[in-house]
Structures are given as C-alpha cells and as structure tokens.
Symmetry: C2
Subunit: 640 residues, 2 copies
C-alpha cells in the first residue's frame, strides 16, 4: 500500500492528468489522466475522430500555407522569407501541437507523432541562446522585446509553448519540447519579477502554464512568478483604467469584483488564478473566484455557455446584456469557460461547475467546429438572419486562435470525464467509456460506462475494483435532471437524487457491481431572466445537455422563418436526423406561423388573426450553419 500510494503521489509523465493535481493541497478532486480513459463509441468519439482525421491535418496545412511555420524557419535561418500574420501566430502552432500531444495521450499514432516531432524541430531551432522565443520579436525586431507589453503577446505565446511542451511530455515521456518552454520560463525568471525588471501580461495565459510547469517540474519559482503576474506590478507599471478593464491584468486579481473587458483574457485569468489557488490556498483569490463566478453565471453567460457579448473589444457586456444576433461569443471564450470550471470543480467538488462545463462543451464550444471538421466558428451567435455575407464558418482566420483551441479541447476531452478524491471516484460527464485507473489509495479500479448519452438518458456503470473495496462513487446529477432514481445492481436506492449535485454511493463495491442512472431526456422549455431584454417572450429548447435551434432550411416551405412561433401546447416528437453527420436527435414541434398583414404595428387583439399551425423542426445548436446559408434562432418566440 505504501508503494502504491507513493506511485499515486508521483505519477510518471504518462499518468499525469490534463492538470496534474496529485500534490495540490487545495484539490478536492484529482482528474483522471487522458491515458486512463478509453472512449467508447458515440457522440464524442465521432467528433474526436473527425478532429484527428480532418481537423488536425487540414489546420497544419493551413498554417503551412499561411506561413506560420515559415515564421519559425525564418528565425532559425532555415528559410529566407518575410514574416507573415499577426504577431501572435506562434501560439496557434503551439495549441495545435498541444492538441496532437493530447491525441497521443489517448494512444499511439505514428503519423501524428511524426508531424508533431517535425514541428518541434522547427520550434526548437528558433529559440535564442538566452531562452527567448517569439518569431515576431526576433531578428530585426529583437530590440523591441517587452516594449509592447499591452499588445505584444510574448507571454501569451510563451504560455502556450509551455502547455504544449507539458502535454507532449505527458504523451511521450520526451522533455524535448517542454525544455524549450522551460528555457523560456527560466529566461523570464532571470530577467523579470519583483526584484528584477517589472512585467505584465497583455493577455493572461501564462499563469496556467507556469503553475502546470511547477506541478510538472517541482520548481517553486514558476508558481511564484504566476503569483507575481496575478498580483500585477502597479507600483512600477501603472496601467490606465481602460487597460485594467480590457486586459484583465495589471492589478491584483483579488481586486476584481466582476468580469469585464476582453472575455478570453478575463476567463484565462480566472482559470490561472484557480490553478494558483489550488497550490497556495490563497483565501483572497478563492473569495474573488466565487464572486466572479456568481457575476458571470447570474448575468453574463449565454444559454450555450458562450461568453463575451460585444464585438467591440471582444468583451463582456453589462449584466443581462446578452444579445442573440450580435453575440460575439468567441469559441475561445467558451473553451476558457470550460477550463476555468474544470479547475473550480477540482477545488470544490461542486456540481454547479461541472454543469457549467457541460453546457459550454456541448453547445458553445462544440458549435465552433463544423460537422466536417475543417471549418471553424470564431463567433458563435445565437441568431443568424440568413445573410450570405455572414461567413460564420471558415477554414482560416487571420487571428486563428479558435481552431487549434477547439482541437486541443476535443483531443483532451477524456481527461475531463473522471476524477478521484480521497473518498472515491467521481463521474463528471457521461459518455460510453472505460476508466482504467487507481483509487487514491493506489488500488487499481476499472469503471465502464455504457450509454448513448447525450442522445439517450440511460447510463449503466460497471465497477470493477481489483477486489471488493469500500469507497464512494460520486455521480453527477445534471442541473436539468429531475426525478433521477439511481439503482445499484438493479435495486433503486432510497435516497433521491437532487438535480445539480453529486450523488454519493458509499458501499463495498464488488467487481461487476452495476449502477444505473436514467436521466429524463424530455425536451425542456427554458426562459431567461426578464432582465435579458433580448429573450423576453421567447424560450430556448433544451434536451439533456444540448441546446436546440431552429434553422430555416428545416422548416416547411410555407412558414416564413421569422414569423414562426413555437406553441407550448404541443409535445415534441423526436427523430434521428439521418442526413446530418452523427445522426443527431432532432425535434418536431407544433408551432404557429403568423402571416404578415403588412402592418408593422397592430393591436394585440388583431394580431391573433392570421395565425396558422405549422410543424417546426429543431436541431441541436452545435450543428447550426452546416448546410449552407440559412437563418437560425436559439431563442424562439413563444405563444402560450
């Protein structure tokens, strides 16, 4: 037992999770490593196969075509070219490399590994002797390093480099790419900090990277530098109020009372602060995180888990400012939302964080990658007029942060499903899969999950400890799942499950014991707080974790799209949409079509005339805009 325990305390690189919390004092839950989870057939396996087979190779080609790799070759002298793209393109390659590493964590893939190693060659060769690496601030611009802290993205790129290196190390055991990141981190430590030159990030990201590097290497200075960044160096680097808002950095994180400014910056800052808290137990940071979570959850989160209402500044709006058509909702912001909630979950074990994670994952993140896998959303709006000029899915963006971010989140997904605490195992997300892991006492345990979730609500878990063992299973009961009656070995348990909590089953588990959960997958009508002015008089339709939408292409010819209103009186009929990838469960609903009488304004009484019944078809939101230009709406006018 002592040996096993020690093995658990110092897992080998390939046994480390997406965030390695094995020695984190404030972690209630340690996530299971990607390598311990084998995904079964179903929803995410299909998406992940497309990610592996289409997205990763086509994006690498796009990056080659757009000069992103040549930017490294230029610095290393391997190619005489002009630097191309905005100053932060290095980070796009790093995120792609991290995604490849996560694929490798799920199992061997010689072809991808070779592609990954080739990019490591290019990156490694572009690093300076002093550890500095950035293809923009090099050669003719070397003297400009750290002169544009606000917009230069040097630490942001470095953070993604470090994360990619750690993921590669955990995938392969090779420190090669991580050492590039270590040299950059050491360059920072040598030059900047409280007793050296002052610095701030223009775009938070480095806190997560440095904390993970500390977890991986044990070098405390990395964590301390993350703390320095989180505190800001206002005495030496005062920032204007508008920059403090927009950048969400530069002053003590603990002075934050609300989310504002650039959504991705702010969410990455919160995720990094949570990482820092997990290692340090900083009570001020913990209080701030709770305050910020309430702020964003109570008034600044789209029903899709998307965040950032405003195109101007890619920013959070005021509370309840959640416009549908104008929603900015960058894919990266929804990803950051998931990453942050994953960390909050680890720190607390509270189901509200896994609920938020699941909402973002299935909807506002999942929508970001096309069904075909080679097109990406930067914005994920909740309404489209059907204007052909709105190119919502594209193979490439000049600022191409979202595509590789989507790829790394899908590739790392197995690492988000399970966790362990001192009391037992946790199931955060439901999907056909098998966990092959250990309890915290070091004893081996397998847990297999048979389900067609999210299409169906039936989940059977089979527990297989090496031998009979007393521990708890913590099963997430989603916030939307009422009336769940868990069964063990076919017998209903007496304690009713509470929606939005973890259901604890403490017992002696024998190999082959089964737990069955049945989630009600009946479509739900959801309303928003009245203060969301854009959603007054409208409902969203949800089924399980999925948000649904109406697309013009699915509606009957007679129903002018913008005149349709769902009628509540009718039940939904479910059917598989055979002509779409993944055959999603679609919904038919009886609605009302209103024929325009040509008058822009009319009396309420008069408006009831001219209504006619119509059958409407809803598809999951994540699949929107995959069939050409067509109007779409998530929040649907509702006629009682």
């Amino acid at each position: 037992m002592a040996m096993a325990s020690s093995a658990a305390a110092a897992p080998g690189p390939q046994e480390q999770a997406v965030i390695n919390l094995v020695n984190s004092p404030q972690a209630k839950i340690q996530p299971a490593p990607v390598s311990a989870v084998r995904m079964g057939e179903g929803f995410w396996s299909e998406r992940r196969a497309i990610n592996r087979n289409v997205s990763l190779p086509t994006l690498l080609k796009q990056m080659e075509d757009h000069g992103i790799l040549d930017n490294f070759r230029r610095v290393s002298g391997r190619k005489q070219v002009v630097r191309r793209g905005p100053l932060y393109t290095d980070s796009d390659l790093y995120k792609w490399m991290e995604a490849v590493a996560f694929v490798l964590q799920s199992g061997p893939d010689a072809e991808l590994k070779t592609l990954g190693e080739r990019t490591i060659d290019e990156v490694e060769a572009a690093q300076g002797k002093d550890g500095y690496i950035n293809t923009f601030y090099n050669l003719e611009r070397a003297s400009e390093r750290h002169t544009n802290m606000k917009g230069g993205h040097e630490l942001y790129c470095g953070g993604h480099l470090i994360q990619a290196g750690i993921a590669w190390y955990r995938a392969t055991g090779s420190r090669r790419l991580m050492d590039v990141g270590v040299r950059f981190a050491d360059y920072l430590l040598a030059n900047f900090g409280r007793d050296k030159k002052p610095i701030y990030e223009g775009h938070p990201e480095m806190e997560m990277a440095l904390t993970e590097l500390y977890r991986t290497t044990g070098k405390r200075e990395y964590l301390d530098f993350a703390g320095y960044l989180l505190k800001g160096d206002q005495a030496r680097l005062p920032l204007a109020q508008r920059d403090l808002v927009y950048l969400f950095t530069g002053k003590p994180f603990t002075a934050r009372t609300k989310f504002e400014g650039h959504a991705v910056r702010a969410m990455y800052a919160a995720a990094g602060a949570t990482d820092y808290y997990l290692e340090t137990a900083d009570a001020g940071i913990s209080d701030t995180l709770q305050r910020l979570w309430t702020d964003v959850a109570s008034g600044k989160t789209y029903v899709t888990g998307g965040m950032g209402s405003r195109a101007v500044g890619e920013a959070f709006g005021e509370p309840y400012e959640l416009p549908n058509a104008l929603a900015y909702t960058e894919s990266c912001a929804a990803i950051a939302n998931m990453m942050w909630n994953f960390r909050m979950l680890a720190a607390t074990g509270e189901a509200r964080f896994s609920d938020a994670m699941e909402r973002a994952l299935y909807n506002g993140i999942n929508s970001g990658m096309s069904l075909s896998g080679d097109l990406y959303c930067y914005r994920n709006p909740l309404e489209l007029t059907g204007n052909p000029d709105d190119r919502i899915r594209n193979p490439w963006y000049d600022t191409t942060c979202c595509p590789p971010n989507l790829e790394r989140i899908f590739a790392s997904l197995p690492g988000y499903l399970y966790g362990a605490s001192k009391d037992g195992l946790w199931v955060h997300l439901y999907h056909a899969s098998e966990l092959n892991w250990r309890l915290r006492d070091g004893s081996a345990v397998k847990l297999s999950q048979a389900t067609a979730y999210p299409w169906e609500g039936d989940v059977t878990l089979t527990v297989r400890p090496e031998q009979a063992r007393d521990f708890a299973l913590f099963l997430r009961i989603p916030e939307w799942a009422s009336g769940v009656v868990p069964e063990v070995n076919g017998k209903a348990l007496a304690e009713r499950a509470r929606a939005g909590s973890y259901y604890r089953i403490q017992r002696t588990w024998n190999p082959g014991d089964t737990v069955r959960l049945r989630f009600d997958m009946k479509p739900r009508l959801t309303r928003a707080d009245y203060r969301v002015r854009d959603n007054i008089g409208k409902v969203a339709v949800e089924r399980g974790p999925l948000v649904y939408c109406l697309e013009g292409v699915d509606q009957p010819a007679g129903a002018a799209f913008w005149e349709s209103a769902l009628s509540l009186k009718e039940k939904f009929t479910e059917f598989r949409k055979a002509d779409m990838a993944g055959r999603p469960v679609a919904l038919k609903a009886r609605g009302v079509a209103r024929s325009a009488d040509g008058s822009l304004y009319s009396t309420l009484a008069a408006s009831k005339a001219g209504e006619k019944p119509v059958e409407l078809v809803l598809i999951p939101y994540y699949a929107f805009a995959n069939r050409g230009t067509t109007p779409m709406q998530v929040w649907i006018p509702y006629v009682p």
Copy 2:
C-alpha cells in the same frame, strides 16, 4: 368669383402656406397658410409658447456663445475671430431664422422680429459679390469651394438659407433675406448644371428649397436645378456604391428601391422629390415614392415615428431592425418624416400619410424638446437603462441640427392642420383652433375646432361660410379610431367612418353648422410585427395619437424596474399628472413584478413562481427623461 379665384391663384406672400401649392398641378390638397390658423388653448399652444418664450431666445444665446453668428461677422469683417464649430453651422442659424419667421406668420412679435432682422443683417453682410455664402468656405478656404461635395454641406446650408428667406418673406413681405438666397441660387445656376460644371449634394435638402423658391418666384430654372440634383450627374461625377447608399444622392432618385444610408439625408431627398413631383407629375418619381413609403412604413419606422436605427452612419437598418435601447432615431429624421408625409398627403389626399405625420409629431418629434424648452434630444431612443452617463437631453450639441429644426416645426405647426381641395376643406390634425380662410372658389369660410385633443377625444367643428354653400368637409379618422359616428348638427350620419381614412361630408353648409366627432381614447395595446425581434413578447401602450412609456421614477419602490411586466388582464386608469408641465394624462395599470431568483435560466414552469402584483404608471413618451436620470421603456414585457 373670377377675382376671388385669381386671388386664390396668386396669394400674397403672407397668404402662402408652409408649402405653397396653389399652382402645383399635382397637388390634390393645398395646405392652409400659417397665418390663416389661430391656435386655441391646449396641448400645442402650451408647447408653442415654450418654443417662443424659452427655446428660441435660449438657442440664439447658445449660438452666440458658440460663435455661430460670429462666423458670419468674421466673413463680413465685422469681427476678428477664429471660425468655430463644424463646417455646417450656418444651417443651424438659418433654421432658427426660419422658426422665427414662422412665429411671425402666426402674428406680430416685435421683439422676435428685431432679433430676426439683426441676424439678417449679419447674414446679408457675409454674402460674396458672386452670391456665394458659407462661413466655412470663405476667406482662407475660398479656393476649396465645391472640392468636398461629399461632406462640405455647401448646398445643404444654402437650402436652409433659401427656406428661411422664403419663410421670412411670407411672414413680413420683405424679400431681404430671400434675396440672399436667390443670389446664392442664381450663383449655382450660373456655375453648375447639366451644361455647366457638374455638382451633387452631399446632403439632400436643396431640392425642397429650390422647388419652394420656384413656387415663390415663378422662375422655372430653380425647379429644373432641383430636377438635376434629383437625377444625379453620374456620368461626370461617379460615386462609390457606399457613398450612393450613405448620401442617398448622386444617382437618379427613380433608381432607389429602398431606404438606406443616412436617415435624414434619405428622408429629405424623398421630401424634395415629392415637391418636384407636385410640380412636374414625373410618374417615375411618383412610383419611387410609393415604393419607398411602403419600404419605410412596413419595416423601418419606430412606433414613435422615429427613423434611423443605427448610430453607425446615423442610418436606416435592415427591415425590422428596430432596436429600442440602441435606437438612433435622430429628432431631425422624425421631422423629415413629417415633412415628407405632409407632401405625400398633398399629392394624394390619403389618410395614411396624415397618420404617419401625426405619429411622428406627437411622439418622436415632440420628445426632442424638453418640457422646459431649453434641452433637446438628438437621439430619441425607446429604452434607457438609467445610466447617468447617458445624457439624452442637452442644451447644445456640436452638431446642433436638431434644436432649431424642432423650433421651426413647432413654429410652423398651424400650417399643418388644414387644407383645401377643389371639393372642399380638409381637417388633418385635431386641436383647438380657428381657420379663417377661403374655399378654392375664393369664398371666405371660417372653421372653428373645439377640443381638448389629444387628452380627450371629443371634437366639435363649427363651419361658418360667408353664406350657405355646398362643399365637402374631409375629416381625418385616425388609423387607431374605430367606431366613430360623425354627427352633423347633433344628428348621427348614416355612413360609418372608416379608421385610417378621410370621412367626406358633402352638403350645403350654413353658417353655424356643427360637426361632432368622438374618438375612442381608451388605451390600446400595440404589438409589432414578429420580425421586429426586439419587441417579441412586448407591447406598447398607445392612447389616441400618443405613445406611452414606463419611467423608473414613477414606479412603486418595491418594483425593480427591469423586472416589471404589464398584465393585460387589468384595465387602465387615467389621471392627470399634476407635477409635470402640461398635466399630461397618465395611466395606471396593474402589472406583475418578478423577483429575481438568481438563476439566469430556468424552466418556463418554474418562472411563474415569484410573481407579485404591482401598480405601474405610464406617461406619454414625449415627456420621458424630464425628471432626472431614470430608466425608461416603451415596449413593455407582457404577461397574458
């Protein structure tokens, strides 16, 4: 009779209407001159008294303080100063002068006349020998004349000069100011046009002015030049597509299929085109006007009669793009809307145009001037959050086009009430007043209107021809007034009145005959076409011609403003709001307040809990934001 007819055909300057259509071949209706209408006590007389006593003097002082008059003195050499303000400030003074002239058309006013004459002195002295006048393109900038046709506003300013001169001529019989305008117009004719140098307006306005100058002087070339401007000179002055959209000029007016671009420019262009049509019977223009009217009325008009949805470019949006809080709705656009519909009414005699006129006048125009008369709205949004930084009413704007425009429309208002066709007299707007005029055959007729409209719906008209005479009375039945049963001399007429039409009463009228109309002033719940996404699930409350709104300051302490929803089940109670100028009729309504449960999204079923009844108070929209910073909404969530 022949004499009278000839007198009617050539009225003296002081008998000319706001637009003098006596000889316009396409005019179905000739408006009554301002001088023929005496306004009785009531709604508009109170507003007009404030306009005369507060607005006009304080705005003149503002213009002095901001150097607008000094700009003229600088050009005439009377003062050595630096030119101040944007390049179009001359037009602001001209509109103020036109407003003063309209006040004088209603009756003598020595003090205002003196102020007006002083400004004429200044303007006259600043005109060049060649007839050119513009305080920006003079002295050191003389060489730049007509080099910036897009943004220079030289013709726009000139148009307002001409209109002011005509109004002054009609008020006083003096041609002095009009001659300044004539010299500028003649300068244009001498230099520009089809066979001379090409020109286009950057801001339509001149077409109205030149057509009116033609009507006043009989010089056909002015009308032809208006036609040249309306057609555009694309062969010699091609414009980029975006400029053709934004400027709403530069290509043939008849090629327009929809309203787009800058709202005031587009509406002024339409008003000018209607003037041109009234003189020329150009069928292409008539067709275009009908098409454009349908376009704007069916999807681009706010319930307040405001127009121009977008702040960017002060522009029209797409059809049904009518956001409430973001509504740009410049006061000048609502004024232009009224001016255009007044012309369309004259051309057709159709009540839909007077309905549109009344909607704009009572709401989106009327809101533009504060109850105190010394503050003005540039924007007239339909929702305010209550942010103290939103300074919606101000005494001065750098671009101060709206304040004098509001002043001239209020000053000229008596000229919008009545008209005459060959068949008889028309009543377009209801207000206590007396018309002292002639039929088209030249015979004298008086028509007095006794009413407390818009507060009350009872209207009694007393007809006093010189002697018994057979003619028709055309009485507007507003679009919202159903069930009206007109009475003559106390007897109900057999033919029912149709809402949204002119009711014709043809008979031999004896002096003292009375007509009584009773309009139902019960508050109405109005809905918008479903395609106006911002108004789904909401209603507007209207009473007579007035749109109402909720202001936070009036609501009970317990009702959080943004959580209130009007309940339809309750009737409205009316009361006079004694603490506001004009003691407007306010409404009490039973509503529902929803207490926030902290969850941004919840099931529709769950949301019904936590509702509590509350009494809401509505005031007329035009009076919004007169009592400090407070939230406001016109479109109110509605619970069936």
